[in-house]
Amino acid sequence: MSAGINYTALGVLVALFVLVTALGFWASNWRRGEHLESLDEWGLGGRTFGVWITWFLIGGDIYTAYTFVAVPAAMFATGAVAGFFAVPYTIILYPIIFIYMARLWSVSYRHGYVTSADFVRGRYGSRELSLAVSVTGILATMPYIALQLVGIQAVLEVVGVGGAGSFIAKALPLIIAFALLAAYTHSAGLRAPAMIAFVKDTLIYIVILAAIFYLPAQVGGWAHVFEAARAKMTALNPATGAPVGVFIPAAQSYWAYATLALGSAMALFMYPHSITATLSSRSRNTIRHNATILPAYSFVLGLLALLGWVAIAAGTKPIGLDGKVNVQLVIPQLFEDYFPPWFAGVAFAAVAIGALVPAAIMSIAASNTFTRNIYREWINPHATHAQEASVSKVIALLVKALALVFVLALDKQNAINFQLLGGIWILQTFPAIVFGLYTRWFHSWGLLVGWAAGMVYGTVTAYNLVNPATGNHFAGSLAMIPVIGQLGYIALTAFAINALLAAVVTVVLNVVKVPHGRDETTAMDYLADEGDARVEKRVEHTLPAI
């Protein structure tokens, strides 16, 4: 690491940051709707986004700054199973969401649902199940927002800002960045990240393509890169006597690799922010068109993952300002070592701005969920559209402030642990949401019991994973799968337990004739498209069911 602050890089970073801030404020006038303040306008951009805006928005939303920092870091540190699974994950993601997200769009369009918990409430007539889904969504999203800050921190630290010194010096850049983000999200809602996503994605594509053509040649070519990675991963770790990592998965990690990819793909579109981005699109097939063009991002993510191995060949030393090794710094450090300072600045801006888009959408999604499914459902059932929008705006600020406190006050390992847990938790809402899109066979109490079991199993199993070297809990995402006897992704095992239990309890409740809740949807609703009539909700639907 070069001593002191890299002023050229910092200057470019700040300039680009100012540009997107201006865009963010300007976005409040972009494609503005006619009607009054409402969650449809503020929280879903008026449901008007077409194929290309949705492409930038979802791409900007799910390929986060943390992904860009953590995936290559995992490749650098432990290799293919921990890192490269992101590639099959983000490829099979698209056929999977192709199948059910269009149905969710249609039923949400017909009934004015803003969140997945809205759908669960309408489909099962169960406040309790809807609450479980919304609380899970909020819990899983919070650490994800916090991790976006970790992405910004990583580039700032490599530029030479904010790593050491007083708490204020360390915290100030992050506080400024998040205060600006909060301000324009407050005024422009989902339109702000949609607009900034254009800049973010353009920068990311430029940087990755430049890196992938330029850097490998600098370190001796691709063959040398793979040889260096193989040498590092197959060497034995002196502390444990086991290989450092995985170059190409052997038979004992096939299950791990496949379950990580499948479980993550199933989980991603259960997050509130993915659902928000989907529901903001204009028509039923917008998300399906996007499923055919979003893999472009997966290609870029794969290239980025390989940069983690390029860094091995380059001998990159990811050492923080505090003098300790921090693998999260490996990509920013690689860029600083090999790019001219001005282009390193562009690359850092790409990561930092890459943090703002998902952070904005996540905070909007979490606050929509709170407003619709906790505030309106449990606190103020007669809330008007304007009240919903103003509550949501306040909660979005609160959520960002909490994320800031989370990262600044606690060790960031906490955020990483919680994000790992978040992935496990969010998949437990899959049966209630996705099964519900196809069938009302499952009983809401069965789904609730299954959800609870999945949550407990997943949390306890993840806690019990202890790193042999450091003694820390939450040491990974893989545990022995019961019955199958292979290492697999905990989330998927928990999901299997969840679904099985939901089915068993449903059968039992049907035998003892416990009534199913009221379903306000019809089969036609799941095929509705743009221009179809919206269902006018009658008042009794929004009142508590008791």
Binding site: A80, F84, V87, P88, I91, I92, Y94, P95, I96, F98, I99, G221, W222, A223, V225, F226, I248, P249, A250, A251, S253, Y254, Y257, A258, A261, L262, N285, R288, H289, A291, T292, I293, P295, A296, S298, F299, G302, L306, T522, A523, M524, Y526, L527, A528, D529, D532, A533
Partner: protein
């Protein structure tokens, strides 16, 4: 029309064969990538890239082709209904 009739008739106009074909197209990439044993090897190396790496990159394009074709089939199977309130 009561509720159960509406439910039964909801998707009756769709071409089931085309929908099934689309489902198969969507399943192909998932099977291709989850069957890790079929591609976890170094050879054949192409331009320095181990098979394990370039094979998965190739699926980005294959998967796009599969989903694009599936979308086309679904649009054929369920033509956009026209007319007033549906």
């Amino acid at each position: 029309m009561n509720r159960s009739q509406a439910d039964a008739g909801a998707d009756s106009a769709a071409n089931k064969t085309l929908l099934a074909l689309a489902a198969v197209l969507l399943l192909i990439p998932v099977v291709g990538l989850l069957w890790v044993g079929s591609y976890a090897s170094v050879e054949p190396v192409v331009a320095g890239f181990p098979f394990f790496i370039w094979y998965q990159f190739a699926w980005v394009f294959l998967c796009s082709a599969c989903t694009a074709t599936a979308l086309r089939l679904i649009q054929l199977a369920r033509p956009r209904r026209t007319g007033g309130v549906r």
